[in-house]
Symmetry: C2
Subunit: 424 residues, 2 copies
Amino acid sequence: MTIAANNPHLKSWVDVPAGSDFPIQNLPFGIFKTPQLKERVGTRIGNHVLDLKTLFVLGYLENLPFELSDFDAVSLNPIMKKGKKGTRDLRNRISKLLDANQEDLQKNEHHVQQVLIPVEQTEMCMPVQIGDYTDFYSSREHATNVGTMFRDPNNALLPNWLWIPVGYHGRASSVIISGENIHRPKGQIKPNPEEPPVYEACRRLDFELETAFITYDGKALGDSISTDEAEDYIFGMCLFNDWSARDIQTWEYVPLGPFLAKNFASSISPWIVTLDALQPYQCEGPEQDPKVLSYLEYKGQKSYDINLQVLIQPNNGEENLVCRSNFKYMYWNMAQQLAHHTVNGCNVRAGDLMGSGTISGPTPDSYGSMLELAWKGTKPIQLSDGSERKFLEDHDTVIIRGYAEKEGVRVGFGEVSTKILPAK
Amino acid sequence: MTIAANNPHLKSWVDVPAGSDFPIQNLPFGIFKTPQLKERVGTRIGNHVLDLKTLFVLGYLENLPFELSDFDAVSLNPIMKKGKKGTRDLRNRISKLLDANQEDLQKNEHHVQQVLIPVEQTEMCMPVQIGDYTDFYSSREHATNVGTMFRDPNNALLPNWLWIPVGYHGRASSVIISGENIHRPKGQIKPNPEEPPVYEACRRLDFELETAFITYDGKALGDSISTDEAEDYIFGMCLFNDWSARDIQTWEYVPLGPFLAKNFASSISPWIVTLDALQPYQCEGPEQDPKVLSYLEYKGQKSYDINLQVLIQPNNGEENLVCRSNFKYMYWNMAQQLAHHTVNGCNVRAGDLMGSGTISGPTPDSYGSMLELAWKGTKPIQLSDGSERKFLEDHDTVIIRGYAEKEGVRVGFGEVSTKILPAK
């Protein structure tokens, strides 16, 4: 289907610098505040935030299924509650208001001054009140790398991996927004296999390059969402850094999976880019062999061509690009993930967050974690300041950026950036 | 410390039948409604529900840190937000109002008629808006049984088990209340090890006898809760049936743990019995050898003597008692579980639910799951109607009951009862 706001020929009357992640074709949703304004829903255009609450108050969002409280909100959950049609109509309306050919808002200088806020005057807040957070493990290259390092290079993938979009439940309470610092976690590690475990700060702190998608309300408990239906239940995507304490993980994860190795923090980017805005970047996914079970079959293009980068910035140092990957490498697509998640009748709710799993590509410079990039510490990464990294150090900042680009239109996510402070 | 409401000599002017789970020494909290009254906070005394919203409106809850909206609520989260002192003072006040020696409420017949509702006129609702649900794996007998069946009887416990209160994250969205039916889940199973997996209804559906505790707001992300502090962050407990699809679990759970095998449903009992009310039933826990790491050391009695029963009721049949266990068998206590959960800085919030893990005792009739009771299908259980069970059948109802009893005072949980409907 054609989505009006995706028209690549649209130009906005709001200035959008070259290379911006936020042209009129994007229009992501987020929660922002300013010293004067409390939390509310906004969208981003170029280097400005558009205040949707004020836009609503001024009457520009009439005849849409929204009320003031939907925009005068501390999370996007109220607008997500309106479902795909509601948020699509909203984005199309905003697109019209920002279109250079439309004068309604453009020519009302008094209104423009009220609704358009320079981004440097705003502070972004957690966009979503997350109900449940699920993390998948859907990059074949990542699973193969981990299996090669820790198990058997000749049988790197576990027997279920090509059949199941493997996933597990994570911690919603510790999902934080870009810009918040984290502390190096403490816990049980077992540095010497012959000795008992010790209670210490993690020594092998890692990032995981991921994206995440956010759901609308799904079906009732007991009902499943098919791959055909799945994208109608996905609101949008963000960048996601699923912090991992590798040494805690190694000791704790058998048999019930990662727990304290992951749940100390996961960082998300503040703007939720709608799945609608990403539609032009759909592409073929990897061939799936063996043939998947019936409930995982899908039609059409369900992968997305999204460039991803990871940068490490040492304390007061410069950014070092350490990984270039792409979301299209994912073996299992989001429609399959959601169909699998609900095949047993598990219910999803507006605001659930589903992480992709670490997105590694086919080449060593596309691996999405320090574990893989430095190959379990055997191939340290050189940084521009002369230091090297096997894992992350205190005061390192990890930045993930991502964008899709085609025919001169770039739809981006901005970034998720998090600094590591020493253990408490 | 002495909690006034726990005085074993207290009698209520409200009739409490012999053997009731709900004497004046209990006073659990729950959410109820009636055909006339919408959801609100209540407590239970004998066979009556005490309407706390109306009690507040009538002025009986003055000089406590609560407002009308805390009781006029669809979950207990608002009262839990007030923390241990607030809810303790509230329970003590209710105890006073129901004390046979106190006339304030007792003698006001008009008020009594408004606030005291026969239990058969009420319907219980989900008591808690659960933020995150964590499940532990803290019964040594259960872990040993599972390890014996699936791995090596001589090395049944995994190396980390005696060091770590092993836990993992579960699904909050699919936690349901006693009385709601579930459907047998579908998913991937692999009945024949030589053949590919198939997409079918689960054949090995199981219950897990558990309890769960509900937390108050904890500390900020990055801070830990010590074992000394832990019980100040626990509001109360309920019975918990953590449904498990054993065949789905076997195929999916390596390496990231159970997912679809568990997240189709977990059932809780409607009344949250406060940790205060359970204080008289504290007891010694099992000896822990090897000595635990420093952050898991604890002082005093942190285990609780709570009798637990599981009953299976075939369609239109009678109840069959299949398991008698006790919460005191747990190797890791709740204080250790919470200290472990937060040792890495993971934050907990009011309304988080933490399951004990299956509570198996030392004898075969105290095993807390069908998997163990029928020993992987090799020792079917005989029911009174002549049928036998290796796992659960469609139309079976599983009921868990539990109570603590000492010096003639019984503090009970009521029950959690759930019927299994066929796969959709």
